[in-house]
């Protein structure tokens, strides 16, 4: 199902002062694959995303892009390679309309003048292919609901036709229907052959859309699981780093009771 390797991290480490945030991280993302990145708070998920997105530079290790080692110094470098990031706080401009937000920073121009018509046309096409429903592409983002803002933010990431899309907690603030919308969208990204890195705390979301689940614990790899051959408990025990956790304890207790 998954195609060639697009993005690979080899032994990436990152220190912040006295804190070793990431140690020897290995990660591979293929075309048409959804990799869920899970881990407890402070496991290093966000640091890893920022390292890939060019916000932080790794101290050691190599980031490989389509088989070649690359250095990503700035967020623009990552964008130019074809890595798009949707941050948790979305970073949309409330006062601009949907088209303005989608094309912010890479406006289509004709002789240095904004080509609003072309941008509006492409916005509509993009939103249609993603089956995104919003009232109008010409209303300010301020008047959209949380889920609509999230899908606009994801759509914005796709404007530059990236190969890898990183979603940082895309469903954290959403209701059920909106979460479903976003998860549908993630699946559509996979169908369109994008590599997706999905960060989530929500195991149900992860199990619903991920192909591969990469677990981080205390800044280290703690297992990469193929979704087809794993279950939620196995992943949770990898996240918490203990076979002795609430789930297994309850199960054990249940077995004791039944005896």
């Amino acid at each position: 199902m998954a195609g060639e390797t697009v993005l690979a991290l080899r032994g990436v480490s990152k220190r912040f002062g006295a804190v070793q945030a990431l140690t020897d991280i290995e990660l591979e993302v293929h075309r048409g694959e959804v990799v869920a990145l899970v881990g407890d708070n402070g496991a290093g998920k966000s640091t890893l995303v920022k390292a890939i997105a060019g916000v932080h530079q790794p101290d050691e290790g190599v980031i490989e892009w389509q088989g070649k080692a690359v250095s990503i110094h700035r967020p623009q470098d990552a964008q130019q390679l074809g890595i798009a990031t949707v941050y948790q706080d979305l970073a949309l401009c409330d006062n601009l309309d949907v088209v303005g937000n989608l094309f912010l920073g890479r406006e289509i121009r004709r002789f240095t003048i904004l080509d609003e018509v072309a941008m509006e046309k492409r916005s509509r096409q993009l939103l249609d292919t993603l089956s995104i429903r919003i009232p109008s592409v010409r209303i300010p983002v301020a008047s959209l609901s949380g889920g609509q803002r999230q899908v606009v933010a994801i759509a914005r990431a796709l404007i530059g036709s990236p190969k890898v899309v990183m979603l940082d907690e895309p469903t954290a603030a959403l209701g059920v229907e909106q979460t479903a919308q976003v998860l549908d969208l993630v699946e559509r990204l996979r169908e369109q052959d994008h590599g997706v890195i999905l960060i989530s705390h929500n195991m149900a979301d992860v199990m619903a859309v991920a192909d591969t689940v990469a677990v981080l614990r205390l800044g280290r790899n703690n297992g990469v699981f193929d979704k087809r051959y794993t279950n939620q408990e196995e992943i949770i025990s990898a996240i918490t780093g203990a076979t002795d956790n609430a789930v297994t304890r309850r199960k054990a207790r249940g077995q004791e009771d039944s005896q």
Partner: protein, 451 residues
Amino acid sequence: MSENNPGGAPGGGSGGEPERRHGPLPEDSMPLGGVNAPVPVAPEATPAVDPRLIVRQEGIKGYLGEFRRRMSSGELGSLPVVLALIVIWAVFGSLNSSFLSAQNLSNLSQQIVGTGMIAIGVVFVLLLGEIDLSVGSVSGLCAAIFAVLNVTNGVNQWLALITAIVGGAVVGAIHGIFFAKVGVPAFVVTLAGNLGWNGLMLQVLGTNGTVNLSGKDIVSRLYSTIYGQQIAGYGVAAIGVLLFLFASLIDARRRQVAGVPSRPLADIVLRTVLLAIVAFLAAYTLNQYKGLPLALLIFLIFIVVLDFVLRRTAYGRQVFALGGNIEGARRAGINVSWIRISVFTICSTMAAVGGLFLAAQIQSASQTSGGGNLLMNAIAAAVIGGTSLFGGRGKTWSALLGALVIASIQSGMNIEGLSNAIQFMITGAVLLAAVVVDSLARRTQKAAGRA
């Protein structure tokens, strides 16, 4: 933000039956997980158009509906200031008929130029959500530079003009660098600038204190030239209206070809007619007196060009983006420091231009240039004209409307023979009213999901 109903129209629910809300979902639906409260799920298949969308009706009825919706959701635009202007003109016109005479209105159109030019620059800074408190001093400084170079030192008038304007740009760049690169709040940088540049102006003027312009130099001529031919005023009005009409038609045509929604023809005609009425009425009034003042023409050209820059170029879009969400703008790859420095440069450059017009108005650069209530008037003009103090909303046209309101009040009260004391109090009240309108509009916009 859980507002799903953009316009706040009644009965715009998403169609979920209440009893389904808490019931179990079908097997094949997405796993619920532990997130958040349940939201009604639309059971029917996805329609092509969002059913919650409020579709504007065609024709006059659609116009009225759209208008009412915008008003109730706090998108007031220029409406409050236009209403205020009508009220002010009606009141002063009824008190004294000479207020609405062609002579007084023509003089007004010239007097607003200095303050208005400065206010255009203030609009740029306000769009970032920042403030520039130095525009008064900078305008005085640049007027002094021109006067001293041209009159005292006999430098070529064009060179002196360019030096004064470049001086303004340099001052703005200094403000911008301290704000954007060093991180000093704009309020403090420009407050320090207000004092410092005023001091430099006194230094430049020297012991004499006042430099009178010759009256034949380029700046005086830019201010005092009036095109007396009837054709000048009407011609400019016609050109403006035709340009607007052509731009609207071409835009509508391109949109139709591209298959995106376009303005209906009736809409374009209506707007053009409204613009034509205002433009030709103004031209008629000016022609009743001496004719079209060059200063007003330059002011309008500045407004139109900078309005174009703000609304139709990537640079303008980036300025608005910065006013909306700095972090978002930064992540979108916008060079935040550069935009900030350039905006402060534009602001001080416009202050320099305004200062030159003000110097031409009183035919001198003196120690009081750029002082008094000029700073407050320029900022008030931008805010009264409808540019938000909170950043991200505004247009250059607010400089014209706001300056017109302030100048009208002052002129009207001068005609009535009211003292400065009363004038200050009333201008202050109008400024407060403008900010109150801005704040209330913003609150309503938030409630209606538009801010």
